[in-house]
């Protein structure tokens, strides 16, 4: 502060060789304002997560006696909350070690199946000629914006009762009753359908941009369509596949609604998000475990985010800027 207070006096009277003009100095200070504002916002943005991380490492007694900022004056940390949340949470909550694995049971199939199916469809849209291609693709585009809420009631009925068609007094079974409700497969089948429009769209954009020569060279060498798809399209489309895979995996891992609809009656198969909300709403019991439980649910997304951020951003840009 003193330098600022002195500036008008000394700067105005004598401008020595070591003294810069007032105008320049103000400009130098002002030019740092944007960076200062940026980092102020960065700090504001990070404080909530940081506070929760610190809280998760404090004992129950410490959490009740004061906020996480007291850890700076009186540092004492423990992993007790993580231990309890993972292996012995209070009252009806499934141990988070189990729901952690359950989340993989949903997220792995919910990622690889839509990608495989979308790759095949995207290749057809991009490099095969057939009637109705244009309108079918517009249909796929339209479905990208259809809210998942439009599918919830019918899918639940389909899972528990199958699909029937009644024509002229006789009933045909189109899809038998498979009793899928409250099984992980119900969730990842739904995620497959919901993820497909974006997957087909992103992969189509990428595959359609591959050079034509590559395909012609392969055809001259005698490769059939599947050979081209398997040996040329899939390897070349790897960046796009990786970008979408990260996107879809995080989406399925972080999903709450779909699991809540199709799986919440089956406690033992429920993923992290459901158990986390159960802990939030079970008033009083296990509140001290909540920060630790939240971080257990975030650790996989955070690892993916920090290690594969480049692909994540690429997928995001392909999905919104180009589209």
């Amino acid at each position: 502060m003193t330098t600022l207070d002195n500036a008008p006096v000394t700067g105005g009277a004598v401008i020595g060789p070591s003294m810069e003009p007032v105008g320049q100095r103000t400009h130098r200070i002002l030019s740092r304002v944007p960076t200062g504002v940026l980092w102020l916002i960065v700090v504001l943005w990070t404080v909530p997560s940081f506070g929760l991380l610190v809280t998760s490492l404090r004992s129950e007694a410490d959490q009740i006696s004061g906020g996480w900022w007291q850890a700076f004056t009186d540092p004492s940390f423990t992993l007790e909350n993580y231990d309890k949340a993972l292996f012995s949470p209070p009252g009806g909550t499934l141990p988070f070690s189990d729901s952690f694995i359950n989340s993989f049971a949903i997220a792995i199939p919910g990622t690889i199946i839509p990608i495989a199916i979308a790759c095949a469809a995207a290749y057809a849209f991009a490099w095969m000629d057939f009637r109705g291609r244009h309108w079918l693709f517009i249909g796929v585009l339209a479905m990208m914006a259809v809210p998942v809420q439009m599918s919830l009631v019918p899918l639940q009925q389909l899972y528990s009762g199958g699909a029937h068609l009644t024509l002229g007094g006789s009933t045909f079974i189109l899809i038998p009753d498979m009793d899928l409700n409250n099984k992980p497969i119900a969730v990842w089948l739904a995620h497959t359908a919901f993820g497909l429009p974006l997957a087909i769209y992103l992969l189509h954009n990428y595959i359609a941009g591959l050079p034509r020569d590559v395909f012609e060279a392969a055809r001259i060498d005698g490769a059939n369509h599947f050979g081209i798809f398997w040996r040329i399209v899939l390897p070349l489309a790897k960046p796009a596949i990786a970008a979408f895979a990260i996107f879809q995996f995080l989406w399925v891992w972080n999903d709450y609604l779909i699991s809540l609809i199709f799986l919440s009656q089956n406690r033992d198969a429920s993923p992290l998000t459901i158990q986390l909300v159960n802990l939030v709403t079970s008033r009083g019991q296990g509140t001290e475990l909540l920060p630790a439980a939240a971080f257990i649910s975030m650790v996989v997304p955070l690892i993916i985010f920090f290690s594969l951020q480049r692909y994540f951003v690429r997928g995001l840009l392909a999905g919104s800027v180009k589209g």
């Binding site: 944007p34 960076t35 940026l38 916002i41 960065v42 943005w45 909530p48 997560s49 959490q63 009740i64 906020g67 996480w68 694995i101 359950n102 993989f104 949903i106 792995i108 199946i113 839509p114 495989a116 199916i117 095949a120 079918l136 796929v140 585009l141 339209a142 914006a145 809210p147 809420q149 439009m150 919830l152 009631v153 019918p154 899918l155 389909l158 992980p184 497969i185 089948l189 359908a193 429009p197 087909i200 369509h225 599947f226 798809f229 995080l250 972080n254 709450y256 609604l257 998000t273 509140t287 909540l290 920060p291 439980a293 939240a294 649910s297 997304p301 985010f305 951003v313 995001l316 840009l317």
Partner: protein, 384 residues
Amino acid sequence: MDALISTVINVVIALAVVGGLFVALNLVTDRAPQRWDDRIRPWLFLGPGLLFLVVGLVVPAVRTIVLSFRGGNDGGEGFTTDNWTGLLGSDTVLSFDRAGDILTSRLLLAGVLLVVVGIVAAKRSAGPGAGVDLRNPVTNVALGVALLAVLMAVFSTLRGVIWNNLWWVVVVAGLATAFGLGLAVLADRSRNEALAKTLIFMPMAISLVGAAVIWKFIYDVPSSAQSGGLLNIVWPGDNIDFLRSGSIQPWNNFFIMVIMIWIQAGFAMVVLSAAIKGVPTELGEAARVDGANDAQVFWRVTLPQITSTILVVITTLTITVLKVFDLVKATTGGVADTDVLANRVYDTLRGGDFTTSSTYAVMILVLVLPIMYLNIRRNREEIR
């Protein structure tokens, strides 16, 4: 142990599905005679995808629309428009009771004042006797904030889940985009740009449910089990439950929206930052040679170049926000005047009232339709 076994089974099923799909494609494309092959091959590659889309999205969507026009909880009672007239006439869905209060709202007054400021600035910017110049920074910002203020005045006065959903769209899409643009500009050319962007972008990776827990520890009221959130510590007045308190309703909605802005500003920043870096540097340099300063280069060269990207960000956010569910469920569960359409869809479905649930779902679809139309129109030019 059960969880592990179940995971292995699910992953094996998934791998079998994918492997089976590729083997089947290979066999058929290998063996089929050429002429037959050319016709049927596209449909083999498209088949599995179309099957999932039709069974999982198209047929359910049609069925949901049909259910919204049928009576009884499970749609067994024939055609009726009662679901629609009943819900749209309900005060909890679409109330106009307090429409008169909008006129006396302070936000509306602020909006009108800002419009005046904007017009004055437009006059002055154009110079004497030259009409108005709408493309100057002051006018742009003033009119933008005025629009936001007027819409906030409308949606915080009119109550009901549909108004609430629209309020969400305006606040989150508007502010997240504005924040994202500001951050993209601030971060551009600054030192440690990548680190700053990563930290702001990080909330995008975590679940909405996790975000709700993070912010619970900001908003919490001190109790015997918890020591109160950060915001209550720095808040000058009495302790407030920022999510439920009757004294701040309906502005408790705003505190839930803040969580969504916290998440989505990073998305807007990353997309807009890429767009700004994509603007040819020659354009800015040419303007500088002509004597433009940094601000003028931004408002008159960069901004017009990224307008289409800004629109993409706004439409993407609008679709996301219209479906908002997790945040509301995990914070208030829809009580204290915070309910939204997607939460009604879930609550009525859980309660076994499938026709009402479907009607709420179609309401979300109707709100999404304009965005869907814009998206398709934009993309059709690319496909051709």
